[in-house]
Symmetry: C2
Subunit: 560 residues, 2 copies
């Protein structure tokens, strides 16, 4: 049967370098991940589609980018910028202006495919070092020119959108080095535009590159790892997939150096201090609205992959999975690194998509793990060799006591293999008018079920919509909820309405507006409702201090 089945002609060539699609596409231009047979069948079934609907791609965005917009900066100013960074590092061509104005939201991709181009910067500047940034910010402050920052471009909330024009600084072109490892302190001083893989590789090879005794790891592996930077992690408050053990980006920053319109500074290098409100923390998550992170010293960890232990379980219900997870996180015996639990819809779709053999399913059902009730848990443990064994034993003991069955190391290992490539599938789906997107929230244990049920109920009001939820970043006090939704539409307004409804639902039901995607300009409008006017006023007071003329990432970022 499999032999003769129809196979859509998924795109297998890199987009033309000057095309709209080159901006739409996630990640490596030559990287692809196509829907499995399971995925394909599921989409046909859910959306009432047939093979015929997968014959012809739509809105591929293969057209060349033509902007036809003037540069609203004087040639004198362009010259000043060129004097600072060198001619070769100032671009005003159409392609640069569009490329560096875009992140990776679904609606950006939908619009680009239709040829709709939103706001772009007037000029794109590639600073060579922090001195360049200092001079540029001083110039822009003097001339009141908006300054946006782009690093790896995986923002999913219009974080880099230059809504007010001006200039965009690209920090990943030159400012992308690991500068120093302090082995005593276990810290690494980085330039902000350092990409995840380059950072991790340098740390893994620290003995050869920096003469250290040990090998290190950054401990921060977001799904966007390949197309995100160290600076981006910090200024948007990202979380890696192993945050349950290593901490969120917030937790693994040791000190930071900023350039702002009112001056430059480096926060101090202390593991602990009681000297008033911590400027090092105040700056984290400012999303470019207070200043530009030009250097950051990160905590690093021992690289000992040989110690990793994997696990996976099936729980009879989502409720049991949540209870066991809480017990594990509050159990005071150590923590897993990756730890994920999938709600029943995600569990069953996942089992189908990843091709669980029928006999295993029958076995699970016979054991009482029923479809649309059962809940999959998988993960891994990092650390000292004895510790990973020790923690695994404890996790198994607790999972068992909540009725789980151990499913071997395999699902945890398999998940890890493809953990950065999931976003690649989006192009294939969009080629046939299907949108896949995610929204996420932080919740305490006490609020988890209410938020999950309410948001899910809202999503299910839309006909023919797949909705999968997991929790993947755990704390003693709670976790996150990560909602994945798949729906068939090419109508941007239709999509936006649905997406905004979900954000509304999260906010009204008491989830945080984001657990680790950040706010950007997309979620900004909900911020005051979420934080209340007194707390928004605190963020505004800091904004007014650092950026009195409103030139740093203006246009609604963070709701400012």
């Amino acid at each position: 049967m499999a032999k003769s089945r129809f196979q859509p002609a998924w795109t297998e060539v890199a987009p033309a370098p000057d095309s709209l699609r080159s901006i739409v596409k996630y990640g490596d231009p030559n990287g692809f991940k196509h829907p499995s047979h399971g995925w394909y069948d599921m989409m046909k079934e859910e959306f009432g589609m047939t093979d015929a609907d997968f014959q012809k791609k739509i809105e591929e965005g293969n057209e060349k980018i033509v902007l036809n917009r003037t540069v609203n900066l004087s040639s004198a100013l362009i010259e000043k910028l060129q004097t600072i960074v060198g001619k070769e590092n100032v671009a005003v061509d159409d392609y640069s202006r569009v490329r560096y104005a875009y992140g990776k939201t679904t609606e950006e991709a939908m619009e680009l495919r239709k040829g709709i181009i939103r706001e772009v910067a007037d000029a794109v500047v590639h600073p060579r070092d922090k001195e360049d940034v200092r001079k540029i910010v001083a110039l822009c402050a003097a001339e009141k020119i908006p300054v946006y920052v782009f690093a790896a471009g995986s923002s999913v909330n219009f974080g880099c959108r230059p809504t007010k024009g001006g200039i965009t600084l690209v920090l990943s072109t030159h400012m992308n080095k690991l500068l120093e490892i302090n082995e005593l302190n276990q810290t690494a001083r980085c330039q902000p535009g350092l990409f995840g893989p380059a950072y991790e590789k340098a740390l893994n090879n620290a003995p050869e590159l920096f003469g250290t005794k040990r090998r290190y790891t950054c401990g921060h592996f977001p799904q966007s790892f390949e197309y995100s930077t160290v600076g981006g992690w910090v200024v948007t408050l990202g979380s890696g997939q192993e945050s349950t053990y290593y901490g969120d980006a917030y937790d693994i920053v040791f000190s930071q150096e900023y350039v702002t319109p009112v001056g430059s500074f480096k926060t101090l290098d202390y593991p602990g201090t009681a000297t008033g409100p911590k400027v090092n923390d105040i700056m984290k998550g400012n999303e470019g609205t207070y200043g530009i992170l030009v250097e950051v010293t990160m905590k690093i960890f021992r690289h000992q992959p040989e110690n990793t232990r994997y696990f996976s379980f099936m729980f009879p219900t989502w409720e049991k999975a949540v209870e066991a997870s809480r017990e594990i996180m509050q159990g005071e015996f150590g923590k897993p690194a990756v730890y994920r639990i999938s709600d029943p819809e995600e569990t069953d779709r996942g089992l189908k998509l990843y091709g669980m053999p029928g006999i295993v399913d029958k076995f699970l059902i016979a054991k009482g793990f029923k479809p649309m009730e059962r809940s999959l848990c998988l993960g891994s443990i990092k650390g000292d060799k004895s510790y990973t064994e020790f923690v695994k034993k404890n996790i198994r003991r607790i999972a068992k006591s909540y009725g789980a069955i151990y499913l071997s190391e395999y699902p945890g290992k398999k998940w890890e293999k493809t953990r950065f490539t999931e976003p690649y599938m989006r192009e294939d789906l969009q080629d046939f008018g299907i949108q896949i997107d995610t929204l996420e929230t932080g919740v305490s244990w006490a609020d988890l079920h209410r938020v999950h049920e309410s948001v899910r109920a809202f999503m299910k009001t839309r006909p023919r919509t797949m909705c999968m939820t997991h929790a993947s970043h755990f704390y003693p006090q709670g976790t996150n909820l990560y909602f994945i939704f798949i729906t068939k539409t090419t109508d941007v307004k239709d999509f936006q309405d649905f997406q905004r409804g979900i954000i509304d639902s999260i906010q009204k039901n008491g989830g945080s507006l984001s657990h680790h995607h950040g706010v950007g300009k997309m979620i900004g409008p909900w911020m005051e409702k979420h934080l209340g006017k007194e707390q928004m006023a605190v963020l505004r007071a800091l904004k007014n201090h650092f950026d009195p003329d409103g030139i740093m990432n203006p246009g609604g970022q963070l709701g400012l």
Copy 2:
């Protein structure tokens, strides 16, 4: 010999309730801890004193407090305050005005013993609840009256000193309850004036008091535990003696509710969120300069004292002790709760003071652990039963590999028994003109030895001065240094000059100005030099936002 030895007549009666000494004295009026024979002998030797010098106490401060200062508040305002909190909760008597103006610095005690009384508030107000605080702050904002806060009064940096008069709010009189335990979230909602012991007792007895399934612990045990409050821990950034495991006060705050001159707000209850700079963190450590903490939700932990494991080691040198400690903190197998290493002077004085038998000392020396080289390490481990065993095994393994000898559980257990009572000894010493005081700093591993050696060298420039140092709060990136100095003087200026010299030395050598005592008005003058003007400007911008008229703890707190 011991039978016939001279014994000073250490004070054994509570100070008269209206006396200066009642304010000088630390802790329970009927609580005493006298110097041991070892201590007594050491003081005589170090300071060239004889039994004759311990015959007559000096400057005991037994005089009744007489203030003779007018109340610089209109009777109309006093009436307004009385209307808000009730007549019985507004005090303008001399004793109240002095008592609630004082913390526990050595120089305050020295001055009070001489009858010198510094600035006091005009009125002392005991708010009954957060509504009272809201009304009082609104009234004081309207009338531009300074507002100070007093809770347990163990500040060691003039944190509560009402340098500008006005009113002092005492939060520990009525606002001292544990309001709610959320067992799912493992959090406790507290009023700010809740004392450490009452909090811990309520958590330990949560099943009986709150109907929880489990017993809990607060995890925060500063030396001032008995005379400190939950709110004080948070607004001054305290650290408990078990912070290496449980985290600093900063880390164990879940959310906070504040009253400020520009409005009241409660931060949101999320274990993790990526919604911009975190107001919950911005407020921590504000030391009453931005607003008043009126409620705080703290993370709590399982209370399982039966699982505690103790340990102690002797290292051949301080350097080896530091290296082993770094290995333990970076080892990724879990963390001890209490963990302390003493430098050689503290080690040897400690061995004498706590009466190590001569035979043990001979044994240690024979094994190569030489006086004024060796370094004592002691501690305990909390958590799940299997975890405490597991972590202890790993700590023993590492300590041994750095040349340490295991000294049994006894020193760790013995230390724990008296861990809150050390400050009681100060009265006895001061009765004979001897001052004992402490200063402390946060340091990275890379800076530890430089700061330790430089500050110690400075302290040793003063003749006849004992100087003991330990590290007691550990992180993967470093630790703290806690300097204890004992010197003979009753000259306040002489003492201040020495103390200020130490702070200077800490600052110049790159230590943080405080690891967990906070800044107050005493260390405030070093803040701008320490943080730099750009970062001080951030603290000032927040100050201007919350408190435009400068009524909240004015007079140099935090260097503002």
